[in-house]
């Protein structure tokens, strides 16, 4: 049991929710000045 939660599916859900949030932050920082489209 980790963080008081026995079901690995719930833990995986929390892990992915936080992981995707971090991915959003990293993506935004890495592509901060990137203009890779052709519409501008």
């Amino acid at each position: 049991m980790i963080f008081g939660i026995p079901d690995p599916q719930i833990l995986l859900g929390y892990g992915l929710a936080i992981g995707f949030t971090l991915a959003c932050i990293v993506y935004g920082l890495l592509h901060w000045n990137e203009e890779n489209g052709n519409g501008s």
Binding site: Q9, I10, A17, F20, I25, G28, N33
Partner: protein
């Protein structure tokens, strides 16, 4: 209420005054029809992210789905996974940039207009516009009901007056300020929501002794799961329901997949991508959008589940029993009992902000669909700012009338229905439209119509949650649903979206020799 009505009224008036002033600033910046419809295609990344997030998250997500987490447990965290992974990362990175590029190149101003110009099909614009004008009032009415239900006890105004006031005040800045006013106020309201949910998480963790202590206590309460829920597959608040059980289908197909995927093709959200000046703005918006959504749904679902611990420790009851069996009453009750007075006020403003930000976006999307995509499609009149103002007023009035006709308990159900229909009707055609070099108009039209029809058929004749109150299956076939369990718990999106997708893909492949369209050109 834990706070006096006078204090609350004063703070709500200050909040409304600030909202109207910000809306006025948007009005002053609105000089052209393009400003009115797509915010001049020059929005700041933070405004885009907060506007997208605040439009995405309504009162339903916090109260309705937070209550569902209190009732069904932490499994709803998977909806947060989809909200961020699909609703932000996939939506902005995969669809957002292409939508912005194509929208800017083709000068599209609404979602149906975008589809029409991609596929060079006026019929596509009519169908998409029709689906929006017919279905979006249902979702709008649900938001209105939620807002009025909050205003009624908070400010001591009767329900009917609350509903009309709520509709009118929101409509004022949408009608006059267009999308710039909507997005400015969204950003303000999103900031209030972020503050409110952050404080809610902190105070809840303090109330239950921290996350691990709270979760452990919740795990130890598994034996308190009501028999009716246990019989349907619920095993505890910190565990997923039994695989394939009715509650598993409800959690996974309706609450997680239905809402999680449904966000991808919502017209009022797709338009946000077309307000960006360049792809840099969308990249930067992702940075803000991900944490914002985590702090909205992730917090609501965690707090909802942990509220069981608080209620059990203070009253010996689980959350649903403490709220008298009303899922929608759990979160407000928890706030009132567990939080200090000042936070009750902050949270009430959070709810009002969540409702108004979604409502304003829906008014704008419906009004522009009525004028630009149906009444004035292809005509010069569609470019008149005045005509769109009339359109928004008409749709506001229709939605308000519908809100008076619908049952009060419709909020969460109407939200899931609208999002499901959007995904089934629009998503395959939208995805292929922005990515295929030669998208097939015939495939898109068939996919859109098939998705909508199958979604409606499954809703009316198979999915018990809607088939029962609609009564159409009962009237035609003399029974509540055509099939028995587990099909009665399978959400329409699980059936209609794959069918819509198959139609799109098969016909797209078959039309390999079709004429190039605007996208290819």
């Amino acid at each position: 209420m834990a706070v006096d009505t006078l204090t609350m009224t004063v703070l709500v008036i200050i909040y409304l005054a600030a909202t109207l002033i910000i809306g006025y600033l948007g009005y002053k910046k609105t000089k052209s029809t393009e400003d009115y419809l797509v915010a001049g295609r020059d929005s700041h990344p933070v405004i885009i992210a907060l506007s997208y997030g605040a439009t995405f998250i309504s009162t339903s997500a916090i109260i309705g789905f937070g209550g569902q987490a209190a009732n069904l447990g932490m499994g709803l965290i998977w909806l947060t996974v989809l909200n961020i992974g699909v609703g932000i990362l996939l939506a902005f990175v995969i669809f957002g940039k292409k939508t912005r590029e194509i929208g800017q190149r083709l000068r599209a101003v609404t979602f149906p207009d975008l589809m029409c110009k991609i596929y060079k099909s006026p019929l596509m614009q009519y169908i998409a516009g029709f689906i929006i004008v017919v279905s979006m009032p249902l979702y709008t009415a649900a938001i209105l009901i939620g807002g009025a239900r909050f205003i009624e006890p908070t400010l001591g105004i009767d329900y009917a007056t609350s509903l009309i006031l709520f509709a009118l005040i929101t409509a004022v800045y949408v009608v006059f300020g267009g999308l710039i006013a909507v997005m400015y106020t969204d950003a303000f309201q999103g900031t209030i929501m972020l503050i409110g949910m952050t404080v809610l998480l902190a105070l809840t963790l303090i109330a239950v002794g921290g996350f691990t202590a709270g979760s452990t206590a919740l795990t130890n309460m598994a034996g308190l799961v009501p028999k009716a829920l246990a019989d349907q597959g619920m095993t505890g608040w910190t565990a997923m329901p039994s695989l394939g059980s009715p509650i598993w289908f409800t959690v996974v197909t309706t609450l997680v997949l239905g809402v999680g995927i449904g966000v991808l093709a919502q017209p009022q959200l797709v338009v946000r991508f077309m307000t960006a000046k360049d792809n840099k703005s969308l990249n930067r918006a992702v940075l803000v959008g991900g944490p914002f959504i985590l702090m909205m749904t992730g917090v609501a679902f965690t707090v909802g589940a942990l509220s069981n611990v608080y209620f059990y420790q203070t009253s010996g009851k689980i959350a649903i029993d403490a709220a008298g069996g009303n899922v929608d009453a759990i979160m407000p009750l928890f706030i009132n009992q567990a939080m200090p007075d000042i936070f009750v006020i902050i949270f009430m403003l959070t709810l009002l902000a969540a409702a108004m930000s979604t409502l304003s976006a829906l008014y704008h999307a419906m009004g522009t669909a009525l004028i630009c995509d149906l009444w004035g499609r292809g005509k010069e009149c569609a470019l008149s700012m005045q005509a769109h103002k009339y359109g928004i007023v008409i749709m506001m009035v229709l939605s308000t009338i519908l809100a008076f006709l619908l049952p009060i308990s419709i909020i969460a159900r109407a939200t899931a229905m609208f999002m499901g229909l959007c995904a089934c009707a629009f998503l395959p055609a939208f995805a292929v439209g922005v990515y295929a070099k030669v998208p097939s108009t015939k495939a898109a039209l068939c996919s859109m119509v098939t998705g909508a029809v199958v979604w409606f058929a499954w809703t009316a004749f198979f999915h018990a949650a809607e088939a029962k109150p609609l009564g159409l299956c009962q009237a035609v076939f003399g029974r509540v649903t055509l099939l028995g369990a587990p099909w009665t718990a399978v959400d329409p999106i699980v059936i209609a979206l794959p069918i819509s997708l198959i139609v799109m893909v098969v016909m797209q492949v078959q039309s390999g020799k079709a004429q190039p369209t605007a996208v290819a050109g």
